[in-house]
């Protein structure tokens, strides 16, 4: 419940800032009208950029992959010898 209240308080603060920006004409009016949509689009763009960068920089650890495969084969051997059904390969 408290998290929802925090988010709503943030939204109210942002809309108050936007309405103040509209009323006092610090920036030209057409810019103030377009500001929320611009911010939402740039937020979506930023999220997409972070996902793309994370995909590019993801480490794959090939040595650990080989070791893991060896561990799996060893465990399957062991369990098969003990009589457990290890399923298909």
């Amino acid at each position: 419940m408290k998290h929802v209240l925090k988010i709503m308080a943030l939204l109210v603060a942002i809309s108050a800032f936007w309405i103040g920006l509209l009323e006092t004409s610090v920036v030209p009016r057409s810019y103030a009208w377009l500001l929320p949509i611009y911010l939402i689009v740039s937020l979506g763009c930023y999220g997409l950029l972070m996902v793309g960068i994370g995909l590019m920089l993801f480490p794959t650890c090939p040595q650990e992959a080989v070791l893991l495969q060896k561990d799996i084969a060893e465990a399957k051997e062991f369990l098969k010898n003990k009589g457990v059904d290890v399923g298909s390969d």
């Binding site: 810019y31 949509i37 611009y38 689009v41 996902v51 793309g52 995909l55 794959t60």
Partner: protein, 74 residues
């Protein structure tokens, strides 16, 4: 396999950066440029700058709710 991942990641970041620059130019810089500059030919009229994100957002929301509804009926 990492190459495919890196390629997809690079494509995503390229798309997002180009969308960001196009949208920033459209909304912020274009009103300052005088109306017979050649750059105006590459940008749609300014009403579309609002219609396209709103339309895309509405399409995304409806797609998400349809997916949730289909999954809960299954």
């Amino acid at each position: 396999m990492e190459l495919a991942d890196k390629a997809v990641g690079f494509l995503l970041s390229a798309i997002s950066l180009s969308i960001f620059t196009y949208y920033t130019l459209w909304i912020i810089i274009l009103p300052f440029v005088e109306s017979d500059h050649f750059i105006h030919r590459y940008f749609l009229p300014q009403e579309y700058a609002i219609l396209i994100p709103v339309f895309a957002g509405a399409a995304l929301l409806s797609f998400l709710s349809m997916f949730v509804g289909w999954w809960s009926i299954k």
